[in-house]
Every structure is written in structure tokens, then in C-alpha cells.
């Protein structure tokens, strides 16, 4: 690998990192604004035009707040918790293909940090690591509500990871590869996987809601029962990290859903567009399309949040174990039958 390649890779990492942080930051603003629109309100509109500086003001506030570590908390783990949460949220973006290869002169620049051949497994590993941040934070707080929230988060994530994995298996049977780059490339034009795997996508999306602890599966932090859930004892930027990690997770899981099922950077008529605007602008349009899909999913996350009330805990477990897992298994069987008889 030449030095220039390394520099390009490094730049790409920084750009993706910055983009995911900015998107997460403005997701907080979007969430409040969208919530307001759904409730016939205006939303934040004081900081800057249309309240556009609100996330900065929130961030500044978070930094200024007093840092409180409870006397009985386990000091080291108390700090490790939020760090782990934001770390695992950030490293998930490494395997997502953000666009086709850029061709500038005789150099090809892949818009993917690394195309490892087990990309999906990597995402799964990172997602399941994410629960450690919540679990450690809840445990280290030495508070019963935090612990209850953490236990809920852990059991919820474990339950829904199973059906998520099963829904992915059906997708793998269709695509035949674990590499996200190849999966995205296979969906060229309009051959999106959601057409072949509608049930799989539905299961995957429900599980993604559960994995990111979003409503209707936000039991780990449900205020009405658990004060604040696992982050009850957290203050200042450590709390900010937890909240931020949730939004980054939402961004990453939207990106994964868009890549796996909704064609990633592909859109109908992309060949025609690429032939007309050249090898640099073409892939960039694909990237914009991918971000459009991601933002649609983020909007959908928020839309659902302001529509559906929270599940009861036994309903959550019922849905996960008695409905989604059998459905996912049925989906695998159906996919197998279709592949055997129609291909």
C-alpha cells in the first residue's frame, strides 16, 4: 500500500466519522422538530434561524454541567460504560459501503473504509458489544433502577439479536455473500433485496428498533417505571455520550438497513446517469441517494417513536421469542424453497 492510499483511507475514515457525528448531532434536533410537527407544535426555534444551533447549545450545556460520580459507584466502570457505548456506536460505520468506487485519473478510490468478507458478522459483533456499555453503566451506578434498566437492555438485545440473525441468514441465502460491499453491488439498479425478502426486512427492521432501544422498545430507559433507566446516575457529558450513542446507533442501523435491503447507493437508472455525468459525479450521486435512504429511515424511526406507545415487558418478550423467531425461521424455509424451485 502506498502512502497516498493510506492518506486517502485516513481521510475517508475522518470524513465518515465526522459525518456520523454531525448526523447524530442533528438527529437530536430533527427528533425534537419532528416530534413537534407530529404534535402540531413548532419545536425549538430560538437558537439561530429555525433553532438550527440548538444541538450546539445542548452540547455546550452538557459540557458545562457538573460531573457527578455517586459515592457508591464503581469509579472505573462508571467511566468505562459511556465510553464503550459511544465507541461501539462509532466503529460500526467501518464496513458500510458509502458509494461506488470513485475513479479520479488512474486512481480508484473505494468509498468504503474496509470491505472485509465477513462484514455482516462484524456489524453483529459490534452491535452485541454495544450492550456492554449499557450493562456496565447500569451495574457501576450501584442503583437499583439503573441495574433494572441495564438488565432489561441486555435481555432485550439478546432476544432480538437472535431473530435479527435469523432474518439475515435468509438474506445470505439470496445474496450468497457476507461482504457488505458485494451485497450492495449485487443490488445494482432496482434489484433491491427488499423485493426478494420483504418479510426478512420487516423482521430485521423490528429488531433494529429493539437493538437501538427506540420506541416501542425503549424499556431500558422508560422514565415512568425506571426513573431514567441505565443512565439514571449519569450527568454531564457522560450522559451526553449515552444519548449520543443512541443517535449514532440509529444512523448506523439505518445505513445497514439501507445497504442490506434497500439497495444501498443503487437507484433505478444509475447507469444512464453515470454514463452522462462521468465516473466522479456518478458515484457521488449514489452516495447522496444512500444518504437520502438513511434519512428516510431515521425519519421513520422518529415517526414510529411519536406514534406507538411502549410495549409491556412480557409483550416485548412474547413478540421476540414467540412471534419473530418462528417467523424468521419460516422465512428461511420459504426462501430455501423458492431458491430450490424457482432458480
Amino acid at each position: 500500500m502506498e502512502l497516498a492510499d493510506i492518506a486517502i483511507k485516513f481521510g475517508l475514515i475522518i470524513v465518515i466519522f465526522a459525518i456520523s457525528l454531525v448526523v447524530a448531532m442533528y438527529s437530536t434536533y430533527a427528533e425534537r422538530k419532528i416530534a413537534a410537527f407530529f404534535q402540531d407544535r413548532v419545536g425549538p426555534n430560538r437558537a439561530g434561524p429555525f433553532g438550527i444551533l440548538q444541538p450546539l447549545a445542548d452540547g455546550a450545556k452538557m459540557f458545562m454541567k457538573e460531573e457527578i460520580i455517586p459515592t457508591n459507584a464503581t469509579g472505573f466502570l462508571f467511566i468505562v460504560g459511556p465510553s464503550l457505548a459511544i465507541l461501539t456506536a462509532c466503529i460500526g460505520s467501518a464496513v458500510i459501503p458509502w458509494g461506488q468506487n470513485l475513479v479520479i485519473g488512474d486512481r480508484t478510490i473505494p468509498l468504503q473504509v474496509t470491505d472485509i468478507n465477513v462484514g455482516i458478522l462484524y456489524i453483529f459483533g459490534v452491535v452485541s458489544l454495544g450492550v456492554y456499555g449499557v450493562m456496565i453503566g447500569g451495574w457501576a451506578s450501584n442503583n437499583k433502577y439503573s441495574l433494572l434498566g441495564a438488565i432489561r437492555a441486555a435481555s432485550q438485545n439478546i432476544s432480538y439479536e437472535i431473530s435479527m440473525g435469523l432474518s439475515i441468514i435468509a438474506l445470505l441465502m439470496v445474496t450468497g455473500t457476507l461482504s457488505l460491499g458485494e451485497i450492495a453491488a449485487q443490488q445494482h439498479g432496482w434489484h433491491w433485496n427488499v423485493i426478494y425478502q420483504p418479510l426478512g426486512f420487516l423482521i430485521f427492521m423490528i429488531c433494529a428498533f429493539a437493538e437501538t432501544n427506540r420506541t416501542p422498545f425503549d424499556l431500558p430507559e422508560c422514565e415512568t417505571e425506571l426513573v431514567g433507566g441505565y443512565h439514571t446516575e449519569y450527568s454531564s457529558m457522560k450522559l451526553g455520550f449515552y444519548l449520543f450513542a443512541e443517535y449514532i446507533n440509529m444512523f448506523i442501523s439505518s445505513a445497514v438497513m439501507a445497504t442490506l435491503y434497500w439497495g444501498g447507493y443503487n437507484y433505478p437508472g444509475m447507469d444512464w446517469v453515470a454514463a452522462h455525468v462521468g465516473p466522479v459525479i456518478g458515484p457521488l450521486i449514489g452516495t447522496i441517494v444512500l444518504f437520502g435512504k438513511i434519512f428516510m429511515f431515521i425519519f421513520f424511526f422518529m415517526w414510529v417513536r411519536w406514534t406507538i406507545p411502549r410495549f409491556r415487558y412480557d409483550q416485548l418478550m412474547d413478540l421476540g421469542w414467540k412471534t419473530l423467531i418462528p417467523l424468521a425461521i419460516a422465512n428461511i424455509v420459504l426462501t430455501g424453497i423458492f431458491i430450490t424451485f424457482f432458480n
Binding site: 410537527f37 407530529f38 402540531d40 407544535r41 426555534n45 415517526w303 406514534t307 406507538i308
Partner: protein
């Protein structure tokens, strides 16, 4: 048991059918309802910039009126203070001096007139009690402030501005 009023209605609880148990159609319905609200005009009135229209008999901040020649009407009789159920009004009377006829209408006037806006309940009994038609609650909403002492409004804030301005 036989119902005495015959108003008792036996409700039948039907078991949920498949689509109701599937829960997804209900979610889609809910989502469409919220989406309708997404495109509705917000009902918010952005208060300091926009104001809701007041009704004609709205009782807001007090103002001490002047007569046609710009003289203060108040004679410091104290009837408003006496009628005030919240005891928000105090005043100190003074005698009009020579050469002040253009300022005060009668021989006696209020040298100090204070209303504690934190005590005031905006009932309007002071304006009913006033024999000189000197006080009316025709003003705006009392603005918020940080200190209690700043809510005691003196004549500088209460008296109407002079006519020729």
C-alpha cells in the same frame, strides 16, 4: 340479576381476529394518523413576537388615566386600595401646590401610587371602586422579571403618558 333501570347494556367482547392480532395494520393506521398531523399547521402562538387577540373586557396591566387636559385624575381617595381583595395597592396622598394645576385635577393627588403585581389578582374591583374613573385595567400582560421588588409598579409605569406626546 335483573337490571332495575333497564339501562344496563351487555357488552360482547369479541376475540381479536387475525389482522387485529397481527398488530401491523393498526400500526400503519396509527402512522397515517400521525402523518396527517405532521402536515397540519402548528397551533402555537410564538408569544413575545405574536400575541393572541385579547377580548374586549380583558383585564391586563393597570393604567392611571389623565383627563382631557392631560391632568392626573387620581385624587388619592384610597377607595381602590380599600376595595382591593388582595391588598395590592398602596398610596401616599399629597396636597396640590400653587402652579401645579395643570398636573393634577383636584387639590389632592397621589404622590406615591404602587401596585404589587405579584399580589394583584386582576379582578377589576379597583376600577369599579374608583369614583374619578382614574384607574383602568386596559393594559398588556405583566412581563416576567427576576426580582420581587421589580414587580412593585410605581407611578412611572402606571400613569398614562401625557396627551401631547
Amino acid at each position: 340479576m335483573e337490571s332495575l333501570s333497564n339501562k344496563k347494556k351487555q357488552l360482547e367482547i369479541k376475540p381479536l381476529n387475525f389482522w387485529e392480532r397481527a398488530y401491523l395494520p393498526a400500526i400503519v393506521k396509527g402512522l397515517s394518523i400521525t402523518l396527517k398531523h405532521f402536515f397540519k399547521k402548528p397551533v402555537t402562538i410564538k408569544y413575545p413576537e405574536e400575541k393572541r387577540e385579547f377580548s374586549e373586557n380583558y383585564r391586563g396591566m393597570h393604567s392611571l388615566k389623565r383627563d382631557e387636559q392631560g391632568r392626573e385624575r387620581c385624587t388619592a381617595c384610597g377607595l381602590c386600595a380599600l376595595s382591593c381583595p388582595a391588598e395590592a395597592i398602596t398610596m401616599t396622598a399629597a396636597e396640590r401646590q400653587k402652579g401645579e394645576e395643570h398636573l393634577y385635577r383636584e387639590e389632592k393627588y397621589a404622590a406615591v401610587y404602587e401596585i404589587n403585581m405579584l399580589r394583584c389578582i386582576f379582578c377589576g374591583l379597583c376600577e369599579e371602586a374608583c369614583p374619578k374613573e382614574a384607574i383602568y385595567l386596559d393594559g398588556d400582560i405583566i412581563p416576567s422579571d427576576y426580582l420581587r421588588k421589580d414587580f412593585i409598579y410605581g407611578k412611572d409605569k402606571l400613569v398614562e403618558s401625557p396627551l401631547n406626546q
